[in-house]
Subunit: 329 residues, 2 copies
């Protein structure tokens, strides 16, 4: 069976989910370990993961390099790669980029939804692009092998990150805005620049990013992927499910509002619909990746193309992206 | 040339000292990165080291495993292994043991001179041995491959650490009290227990630990080593110079008084002699390790014994001690 890699999840982790990953044949997952946490709080989240790794060594292992995906496959486990959805984890200290890379951080978004110290989030009215510190941090991320992720960033910031970064970047979880014009989905201009630079787009299954939301069909989702493959090239895309399995609604509140507001920010939701939206019935969790592969075949993609999209592309990207600059894979 | 490893230094690091390490043929050094610093401050010290590694890649590299000593020798550099002289860096959080090991910490003293959360320092009037947390942390250090160092601890605490630890421990920088009865030097009972458990003693060149202080002769120092070899076995000893090259006296004040007192604690010094004592003329810095090797030969030790003491023993100990429990070298 070909490799299956998910470009983003933020589940309420449990033995049940780790076993579902095995049932779904998931070889590697980029997991969010922090939204608004500062450095010390991020380290506490890493400590919690260390306890999972210690408790379930037969199900999961921490991934540091693409080679760890092979180790996971050979031993029937899932490799867990850490990422941050916000640069709050480096506070105002560029030295923490290398420290967090050493601890296993492999992706960091330059922003969540708001302006950060580094760039502008997609919910701000004005996007002023990379900040002074943003340019320095991107160069440092390039040096150590920490992937720039612009999933939640504004258009100008994203284009500047693609241009300024000397290594390909990723948009780990979003879809084309031409298919579903959500604020979090990406314009053709961004997708073209991402593809031309050798970057990666992970297709999101979060209902707010889907045409018809929770009612989106697997065929509609896979048709969208086929169209995006035509635009970006089959090597430039993968899955980034944005799966928040078993999370209570208090977590989506934390994701959106953090500690930056005393009121409630509804983000992609609304006062009438503040919680996590229900997932499409064909993708409820980690055991359902096979449904996507079946859907991709049924829209006419070849077996080689399906394998690339389901994980082969992320595996190649991980191999190129995670090593310090100038260091061989 | 055989391997040269120093079991402890805390220099005022500079390009000059890194070049002296090369001139002295020093292949690896356990460097103190923290005395009284908390976790975040320790990370700042690691960040400072990361900048040294980035600036002088032709002189130094960070050591994570004993294999890195071979890399250093093959490329004409010195491998730097991190250690802490106090458990303040893990605060009250056992999860930080694994986090700091991941960042490269390879030695941690359970105490500096005072009572810690883990054990009792050698300047306390009563030594109550390992605390409840101390026993938990020793087990966790054993699990991840972080060496228990009892250089500054009291006798009971040291004996209990030797007994409780499932892996050999180290006293990285001290001498036999029978030779020079300083409070920091170790009783025959401790040395015997250390040797029987497969641990290591690093001989200190800090003048307060030397017979006749700064006037100690190289012959006197090496005679003491020869007698200790007879007692402990030649495999159980190495050098742990405690070299504090180019440090201003404000640093010894920080080492002794930290933030635990508002007055001044003179430690091994005195009000009349509060600063760093002058080093013996035959060991002023990193270029002088050859003088010790010459001295060891002149007191009758064989070439193989000298090689073991100057670095071979530490290299073997590092290989056994730094990997997670159950993991092959």
């Amino acid at each position: 069976m070909s490799v299956v890699i998910d470009g983003l999840q933020y589940a309420n982790w449990s033995e049940k989910i780790f076993r579902q990953m095995r049932a779904g044949g998931v070889d590697a997952v980029h997991v969010t370990i922090t939204y608004h946490e500062n450095f010390r709080e991020t380290v506490l989240n890493i400590e919690a993961w260390n306890r999972w790794f210690e408790r379930f060594p037969e199900l999961i292992l921490q991934g540091f390099s693409a080679e760890d995906i092979n180790v996971a496959r050979e031993t029937g486990r899932t490799a867990i790669f850490f990422g941050s959805q916000n640069p709050s984890c480096i506070e105002d200290d560029i030295g923490l980029v290398e420290v967090l890379h050493r601890l296993g951080l492999r992706f960091m978004q330059l922003t969540y939804n708001n302006q950060s110290l580094l760039a502008t989030g997609c919910y701000e009215a004005d996007d002023t692009g990379l900040t002074r510190m943003g340019r320095e941090v991107v160069a440092e991320m390039n040096r150590v092998g920490l992937v720039v992720d612009m999933s939640h960033s504004g258009e100008r910031s994203t284009l500047e990150a693609i241009k300024h970064s000397t290594r390909p970047i990723a948009i780990t979880h979003a879809n084309p805005a031409s298919w579903h014009p959500a604020r979090r989905n990406k314009s053709d201009r961004v997708l073209d620049a991402l593809a031309a630079s050798g970057g990666m787009l992970g297709f999101s299954l979060y209902p707010h990013h889907l045409q018809n939301g929770s009612e989106c069909t697997v065929n509609g989702f896979c048709e969208m992927i086929a169209r995006t493959v035509e635009r970006m090239g089959v090597e430039r895309v993968g899955i980034g499910s944005d799966l928040c399995q078993d999370q209570p609604d208090s977590v989506v509140d934390w994701m959106r509002s953090g500690r930056w507001t005393k009121t409630v920010d509804f983000g992609e939701g609304s006062a009438a619909d503040p919680g996590f939206p229900p997932m499409p019935q064909w993708f409820g969790g980690n055991e359902d990746f096979g449904n996507i592969a079946v859907g991709l075949r049924s829209v006419g993609l070849s077996e080689a193309e399906v394998a690339a999209i389901m994980g082969g592309n992320w595996q190649r990207f991980f191999a190129d992206a995670f090593a310090p600059q100038g260091q061989a894979r």
